[in-house]
Symmetry: D2
Amino acid sequence: MSHTTKDKKKLLSRIRRIKGQSEAIERALEGEGECEEILQLVASCRGALNGLMAELIEGHLRFHVLDPSQNTSPSQLEAADELMAVVKRYLN
Amino acid sequence: MSHTTKDKKKLLSRIRRIKGQSEAIERALEGEGECEEILQLVASCRGALNGLMAELIEGHLRFHVLDPSQNTSPSQLEAADELMAVVKRYLN
Amino acid sequence: MSHTTKDKKKLLSRIRRIKGQSEAIERALEGEGECEEILQLVASCRGALNGLMAELIEGHLRFHVLDPSQNTSPSQLEAADELMAVVKRYLN
Amino acid sequence: MSHTTKDKKKLLSRIRRIKGQSEAIERALEGEGECEEILQLVASCRGALNGLMAELIEGHLRFHVLDPSQNTSPSQLEAADELMAVVKRYLN
């Protein structure tokens, strides 16, 4: 079973929030909202998408790069944590 | 009239594409698609969102920071072009 | 006089710090330091470079896109502030 | 032996180029060069730093998250390649 299956509920809730945000941007554009307000909505949507991306990357790292059915040493797990810390720092 | 009104059709077409992409991500998650495929869909959606952001920033720069009802010198317009080139280089 | 002249002292102090950080990375690589430590040094250096970039962009916006010798309306100044807030959010 | 030792020569050559680029920015600021030119120099330096970062992350992934002394399956190696493709797409 893939991590996208295991975390399905959490990931679906993230993407549905993103879909809702894109609908809010659509409504703001249709309603000819303020440019500044629309910029903020787009920035928030991008933040949510980066959050989803970070979660997918983390699952990919822990379930596909590392193999949960094999012995993984503590130093490998620590290295994976360090990698995720760097990735999250960039994904924003 | 704001640039988000002037460019409304173009901006709406961008956000509708983004909404469609977020629906494709939702379907892929629901259908338990491959992690790699989902990562690609999210990366494409983020690219489309960055494109929308760049277009909003450009409108903001040309219609709000610069004032179309005033005289704007060629060197100011050139400076705005240079600024947009830098912003686009970062927004990806 | 350009903003890079006006802000020369502040900008020079930023780039000298960046040069110092790149020398620290060089020493860490020569001394075969820990990968994790080197990743942190590179991330900090990139943060400092983004800070320099944001300052250059802000100067460019206020001194070249806007023209300090002309009348700039409060709403244009506000729009410039909003643009910088968005740019800084992305430059990290 | 760490990957930062194994790839020492290549990594050192990257950081020395970055140091040279930061010196060029310093000279341009001291010589009161054009803002546009300085923005370009900073953008290039940031690109080089991102290249160094990507190389460090790749080494970290292949030598610390994965353990070269253990059996790594082809699907794990493929997952590592996919992860690096995503990381490089973001690091620019």
